[in-house]
């Protein structure tokens, strides 16, 4: 059987198993998911894949040194010094081993990211999972592993940890260590063994630097992750699970930190408790007046934030570029305070800026990806590098990102998509997307004879902007509203939609209403082409539009354009009435014929491949 498969199953469980912290971890070992019940007596049942996890702890490394007779090792050896012991135990073996713990932080970073939203880590996770699979058999209990030897690789590793197999073993150590560190961090919170833990990250950092020179043979992504700031700082900047706004304690904490004073909306929609629902209208003026009181937000960021809040910048590409350019200014004006390192301090500064922007308007997924990229770059700055040099290199990186990932990608997508517009076509598009506009205009420049149907919807009526631009260029257009899409769909021959993001299950996260268009198109058998730059791809998966979304200002719903008096003017005073202004929805993959990216036209099922193959090079 393929060793990877069980390993993947095991992987998440393993991380729950702790051995450092005195209190909870042993319990966790026991209570870890149902399948791990045999794990309590790991050695008694070597065949079961679930018994493997405990074997990968430092404590088990200990047990290797001691002998095989310690089944409850994970509970016994739960003292902090295990850390040092663990390192020692590996350095025993050979050079390949000795290098391994040092490389650990990189992969650990990756796995940390898994919890949150780090797309690059799909790759990493995969690798580490594979290594992990190979590892346990070569782990503490060699004899039993050989006895079991249901997988050849594992047996090989166990018998001869040769140069060939050193890599998996390396990964193993990294994995074990990472786990150790996670536990350590948890413990640090409990502050039981505070001194022991604090010493550890520092050590890791030192080792890491060694690695960066050493690791010629290591896998690319590991190398990249090599120079990262100590865990403690990194922990902060890691994108965590998305903020759930029904979690009271977290919301309170966030509000304390927040720059903008937000009052909770009165008529909140019950289904969307987990999303921020704040009163609108007064934020802008509040923010405007508090300009001089805000210290830690750079004016450029501040300006962009105001623009987001006011809705001046709507398109996700435009928002992303505006944000990155603001960060460029932040970096230019940055000078490292004494006794701080640029990498740590700057990324902290960027983090505050990001959270400021997030308060102005929840960041789009593309912006999240860009941020991740930027932070990865900052992390990789060599501490030895000159500050101004580092800054210019960062600014160049940002420029490069904008150019390569947005501007050139758009050009490439236009080249691809334009081949799908033929003479006599009727192109239907929804709302307004900068990319679709470029495609249509380019096709027009190529003198293709086609007609455009623009479907629009409230409340933003973005389609009107697009309509004006296309009319100016002399394109023949039909304008209609989303309810009439079934009527107009007879005419359409192709649907072009923009997207805010594409998830790795192939669903397209896009302006609300796109799913309706795609659905009707599917019912009328009209092909749907979604155009999206690959930097917007995300490894997250989503099935519905409820779990993660953005809520717009409900007030705009009550106002009907062209009417002076509306039925719902006093909606806020009625407790039974809620207005819901969703910003995005999720188009199921089966409605999408193809996704046009700069890499070409791919079916929705290939999105995870793009995320995996091209996402990792970024972070």
């Amino acid at each position: 059987m393929d060793p990877r498969r069980p390993s993947r199953v095991i992987d998440p469980k393993v991380r729950k198993v702790g051995f450092f912290t005195p209190g909870p971890p042993p319990e966790r070992t026991r209570s870890s998911p149902a399948a791990t019940t045999p794990a309590q007596s790991p050695i008694s049942n070597p065949l079961s894949p679930v018994m493997i996890p405990p074997a990968r702890h430092a404590s088990d490394n200990l047990s290797r040194a001691v002998g095989v007779l310690v089944p409850t090792a994970s509970q016994l050896h739960v003292h902090p010094p295990a850390d040092s012991l663990q390192v020692g135990s590996y350095t025993l073996s050979d050079s390949g081993f000795s290098a391994s713990p040092t490389r650990s932080p990189s992969s650990r970073i990756g796995i940390d990211g898994e919890f949150s939203e780090d797309s690059a880590n799909w790759m990493k996770r995969d690798n580490s999972g594979r290594f992990a699979a190979a590892f346990p058999t070569g782990g503490p209990d060699l004899t039993q592993a050989i006895e079991a030897s249901n997988n050849e690789d594992g047996g090989d590793v166990a018998k001869e940890p040769s140069q060939k197999n050193s890599k998996p073993l390396k990964a193993k150590t990294t994995k074990a260590e990472r786990r150790a560190l996670q536990e350590a961090q948890r413990a640090a919170k409990a502050s039981a063994q505070a001194p022991a833990q604090t010493s550890k990250p520092v050590k890791q950092a030192n080792q890491k630097n060694d690695v960066s020179q050493l690791a010629s043979s290591s896998v690319v992504h590991e190398k990249k992750g090599g120079d990262k700031p100590p865990i403690k700082d990194r922990k902060k900047e890691m994108p965590r699970t998305r903020m759930q706004f029904d979690d009271k304690s977290r919301v309170e904490k966030a509000q304390k930190r927040s720059v903008i004073k937000q009052t909770e909306a009165r008529n909140r929609v019950e289904l969307f408790r987990h999303l921020p629902q704040y009163e609108r209208g007064n934020q802008l003026s509040d923010l405007g007046s508090s300009f001089f009181q805000i210290d830690d937000v750079h004016p450029a960021v501040y300006k962009v934030g105001l623009q987001f809040l006011a809705g001046d910048i709507m398109w996700s590409n435009a928002r992303c570029i505006a944000m990155l350019q603001a960060f460029q200014k932040v970096i230019e004006d940055y000078s490292t305070p004494p006794e701080k390192t640029l990498a740590i301090d700057l990324s902290a500064k960027i983090t505050t800026s990001v959270s400021f922007l997030n308060e102005c308007r929840p960041l789009s997924i593309s912006m999240g990806n860009a941020n991740r990229y930027l932070k990865a770059r900052i992390r990789k700055i060599n501490p030895a590098q000159d500050e101004s040099e580092a800054k210019t290199s960062l600014c160049l990186e940002i420029d490069h990102y904008i150019q390569a990932k947005i501007v050139l990608a758009d050009k490439q997508i236009v080249m691809h998509a334009v081949t799908k517009i033929c003479d006599g076509d009727v192109i239907l598009t929804y709302g307004s997307s900068s990319l679709i506009e470029m495609i249509i205009l380019h096709a027009h420049e190529l003198r293709r004879q086609f007609r455009v149907v623009i479907v629009d919807s409230r409340p933003n009526l973005e389609g009107q902007q697009l309509l004006r631009k296309l009319i100016e260029k002399g394109l023949s257009c039909t304008y209609t509203h989303i309810n009439a899409v079934s009527y107009i769909m007879h005419e359409a021959t192709k649907i072009f939609l923009g997207a805010a993001s594409v998830f790795s299950n192939g669903t397209v996260y896009s302006t609300v209403g796109s799913a309706c268009i795609a659905m009707v198109a599917d019912a009328y058998r009209v092909p749907v082409l979604v155009c999206c730059e690959s930097y917007k791809f995300h490894e997250r998966v989503q099935l519905d539009s409820i779990c993660s979304n953005e809520l717009g200002d409900p007030n705009v719903i009550s106002k009907v354009p062209g009417r002076k008096k509306n039925c719902l003017d006093d909606w806020a005073s009625k407790e039974n009435l809620q207005l819901l202004n969703l910003a995005y929805d999720v188009t199921p993959a089966d409605y999408v014929s193809t996704i046009v990216t700069e890499y070409g036209m791919i079916p929705p099922s290939s999105v995870p491949v793009i995320v995996r193959e091209f996402g990792q090079e970024l972070y």
Partner: protein, 414 residues
């Protein structure tokens, strides 16, 4: 008869100018108009029903031509025609029955039993649309019945002439009187159809249900409120129904009744439908195949509902039931409204004008009023006579309309 002429013209104008909105109001007004037409119609001594039918058909043709989309007009005209035929037949059979029971006065009939059977068969054949059972029951006295009572009511007039000669005056008054009485019943039925439908609400809405509706319809308001009054508590998502935004009115109404209401944009229908238990909407007309002519946007909602296996329930009074089968209904049974509902004219009006620019205008604005929902997307119709499947619609039609009236336009030459 100048009065009816004025009335008809007035109604025609209103229809043409789209001053009458909503199928219920149209239906009611049509029925009332036809009632006054009937009451003022002077009937000849022979073939009264035929004359009446002829008159109504003539008006009906005008009315349907005035607003071909408002099928309720045609429905009511057909209903009235059906009523006339029915009343005529019942009068005829009554007279035949009476005659045959009196004795053997009639020359044509030798056997009173046969004639009674024939009368019954005639009543059946004319009152009931043809079915296998009627055919089988008809078998024994078939030859006699065929001779005595012709099937179609157009020739029923001829039989009248033969059979009845004595009480002409009383009968003519009786026919008119009966017809007007039944038309009154029809008007009553239209007026109370909302209540009739609303009564069934509790059978379809359970506690904590989440209902989605789009736009606004009087029937839907009544339906939801009736359920609320019966102490059901449920939640309603109202899609606003661009470009008329009637959903706002509906939401206001529902909130005033204390229902939990959430207004969503039309574009969010697909996003929200996964959390909805049932879609309840009104209709503009129900076609014979079970398809629905509905306010614009409902096809999208129905597709979304189908995708998520959410029941799509259409509330429709019987007066919305149209005996025609739709052909290309998206275009032919539709109406394009003013672009001003979608766009401010301002800068774009130049592009829309045929006269100013050279060649065809660059910009078209499509603002259709209706959507066609095919029968396969409809889970259930709730009418004032109960719930029905889309596939059952053709059968209901046979109950309310007679096949001779289906085509109003091509009037038979008399």
């Amino acid at each position: 008869m100048p009065d009816t002429h004025a009335l008809v013209n007035d109604f025609l104008n209103k229809l043409k100018k789209r001053k009458i909105e909503g199928s219920k109001a149209t239906a009611k007004l049509t029925a009332e108009l036809l009632r006054s037409v009937i009451s003022q119609q002077r009937l000849p001594h022979t073939n009264q029903a035929g004359a009446l039918i002829h008159a109504i058909k003539a008006i009906g043709e005008q009315l349907t031509a005035a607003n071909s989309v408002e099928v309720a007009v045609g429905n009511i005209v057909r209903r009235v025609l059906h009523i006339i035929r029915e009343e005529d037949v019942s009068l005829t059979t009554a007279s035949i029955g009476g005659l045959s029971l009196q004795g053997l006065s009639d020359d044509e009939e030798d056997n009173p039993l046969v004639s009674a059977a024939a009368a019954a068969a005639a009543a059946r054949t004319t009152l009931r649309p043809p079915s296998l059972q009627t055919l089988l029951e008809d078998m024994p006295p078939h030859s006699a019945a065929a001779a005595a009572i012709p099937h179609s009511s157009s020739s029923a007039g001829d039989s009248e002439d033969k059979t009845k000669s004595t009480d002409k005056n009383s009968r003519s008054r009786k026919l008119k009187h009966n017809v007007i009485e039944t038309v009154n019943e029809l008007i009553q039925e239209i007026a109370t159809c909302h209540e009739q439908i609303a009564e069934q609400a509790v059978e379809h809405i359970h506690q904590n249900e989440v209902i989605l509706t789009l736009g606004s319809s009087g029937t839907v308001i009544k339906f939801l409120c009736a359920a609320k009054e019966k102490k059901r508590s449920f939640r309603v998502f109202v899609a606003e129904g661009a470009p008329r935004y009637q959903g706002h009115t509906l939401a206001k109404e529902l909130v005033s009744r204390g229902l939990q209401t959430t207004v969503i944009t039309d574009s969010a229908v697909f996003a929200m439908i996964s959390r909805v238990n049932m879609v309840i909407v009104g209709a503009h007309a129900v076609m014979a195949n079970g398809g629905v002519i509905a306010p614009v946007g409902l096809n999208m909602v129905a597709l979304a509902a189908q995708r998520h296996a959410v029941p799509f329930v259409v509330l429709a009074g019987i007066h919305k039931l149209c005996p025609l089968y739709p052909h290309n209904p998206e275009v032919l049974l539709n109406e394009l409204k003013s672009p001003s509902e979608l766009l401010d004219f301002g800068e774009l009006s130049d592009c829309m004008d045929f006269s100013t620019g050279t060649g065809p205008p660059l910009l078209h604005v499509a603002n259709p009023a209706f959507d066609y929902v095919p029968p396969k997307l409809v889970s259930l119709f709730i009418t004032d006579t109960g719930g029905h499947n889309p596939s059952y619609m053709y059968r209901l039609i046979a109950d309310y309309y007679s096949a001779d009236d289906l085509v109003l336009q091509q009037r038979p030459t008399c």
